[in-house]
């Protein structure tokens, strides 16, 4: 049976992981390659590097970061955050990423999804959707969640899938950073609407939140960042708990 995937997100700025990383035994707690390797050993299923760099100089450093991480781990690696064009995607993939995640760029130019899917295969083209509930509608936001659009998440996810996206990375802006749990209603609505896998993101605060999003939320995968930072055993503990609940995982 296909396992539910647990994905670790590394928020990287200027080549360093930001957000509270608190591992003991790491020479440099902020080094993305060391952290990725650590997660890999703990049994994480995939790693996402999210580039939160604001400067052009920092963006150029991204390829070096991706390459350093890709040298250390032999599991799927996705790059998102700074992918604005086919060239950006090519740079990330040439550096060793398997998949790129498009967000604002895909909404501005939906043909980019098809371009990347044709060049690298659909499995390499993830469309990231940041959504927020507004008057009972889950609306898509762009530019790191700062700008509202009039697109609905379910409808945009369908279009992205039709255009060749291989997966949807769905982040709940309402839940992001709250540790109150994933938005299962939003995730289930999108997951039921598209034939492709949906990765839930935003709100993970406890291990139970993952089992909720895999059952009630119909998620195919779940992504989190800080929850994995605080304990060496978080990934394994999480997977053992899920397996005890009958949810298929890779252990």
């Amino acid at each position: 049976m296909l396992s539910k995937r647990i994905i670790a997100c590394l928020d990287v700025r200027n080549g360093q992981v930001v957000k509270g990383v608190n591992f003991e035994g790491l020479r440099n707690a902020g080094d993305p390659a060391e952290l990725a390797e650590r997660y890999n050993k703990e049994g994480i299923d995939e790693v996402v590097i999210l580039d939160v760099t604001a400067t052009l100089e920092g963006r150029r450093a991204l390829a070096a970061t991706v390459s350093a991480v890709a040298k250390r781990i032999f599991i799927p690696l996705t790059v998102g955050g700074g992918i604005r064009s086919e060239d950006d995607a090519a740079a990330a993939i040439d550096a060793g990423a398997e998949k790129v995640s498009l967000n604002t760029a895909a909404l501005n130019d939906p043909a980019l999804i098809t371009t990347l899917a044709s060049r690298y295969g659909s499995q390499a083209a993830i469309v990231a959707i940041d959504a927020k509930w507004v008057d009972g509608r889950a609306l898509v936001y762009v530019r790191s969640g700062s700008a509202e659009t009039q697109r609905e998440a379910v409808e945009w996810a369908r279009e992205a899938a039709d255009r060749g996206a291989g997966e949807i990375l769905l982040t709940s802006i309402d839940r992001d950073g709250t540790k109150k749990g994933f938005d299962c209603e939003l995730t289930a609505a999108v997951s039921r609407a598209v034939p492709i896998p949906v990765i839930a993101s935003g709100g993970a605060g406890s291990l139970e939140h993952f089992s909720e999003v895999f059952t009630d939320g119909c998620a195919d995968a779940a992504l989190a960042a800080s929850i994995f930072h605080f304990s060496e055993h978080a990934v394994r503990d999480l997977k053992e708990m899920l397996r005890n609940q009958g949810i298929p995982v890779r252990l």
């Binding site: 799927p76 659909s122 499995q123 997951s191």
Partner: protein
């Protein structure tokens, strides 16, 4: 030297990196004649089966020549599918036909989606060189929509709604539907086992 055939079906960075990690000397042949002296050939590939059309008669003959010389061939993902007669994904696009049967679209049955993306189990109907030292029901990483039928050549079977051949072996011709370069330690062991078959 091992030839990694690049015919434009996806990016080969990860495959190269994983092969380097297990100590393989890998090169990408520029023309079919480059295959005349290789120790083994690997045909990777992601995306549409139609991409294999880029492997024209000359390339096909050169790859078959490697097999005839008794050297191992490994197909990865679409590369495994290409070992069969063809795929309903691209009717009229012929496979190598080293294995009998056609590849078909996997079935969607909620909550099982297609493409089949993620980690799934290998079940071994029999022992094989490729999975030497690997535990039955080990998990590996898949990403594909089409799959090969389970025939006598299947050395691993995986189920996603229906069972399909997740690895095949016939003589020294091997194929894996999953991505060994993305399957952690298990994947690297599969590549090492392939090198040991040289």
């Amino acid at each position: 030297m091992i030839a990694l055939v690049d015919y434009g079906a996806g990016n080969l960075t990860s495959v190269r990196k994983a092969l380097a990690a297990v100590g393989a000397d890998v090169q990408t042949p520029q023309r079919p004649a480059d295959l005349d002296t290789v120790e083994a050939v690997i045909v990777p590939g992601v995306g549409n089966f139609a991409r294999t059309a880029a492997l024209d008669r000359e390339w096909r003959d050169a790859i078959l020549g490697v097999v005839e010389r008794g050297r191992p061939l490994l197909g990865i993902c679409v590369g495994l599918q290409w070992l069969f007669e063809g795929s309903t994904e691209a009717p009229g696009c012929e496979g190598l036909a080293l294995m009998p049967g056609q590849c078909q679209l996997l079935k969607t049955e909620w909550p099982n989606k297609v493409p089949h993306v993620g980690w799934n189990e290998l079940e071994f109907p029999r022992a094989s060189r490729l999975f030497d030292g690997i535990r039955n029901r080990s998990q590996v990483y898949f990403t594909h929509s089409y799959a090969a039928p389970v025939t006598d050549e299947a050395i691993a079977v995986t189920t996603h709604v229906v069972p399909f051949a997740s690895a095949v072996e016939r003589g020294h011709v091997f194929g894996v539907q999953f991505h060994p370069e993305k399957s952690g330690e298990i994947g690297l062991r599969v590549l090492t086992n392939f090198l040991n078959a040289l």
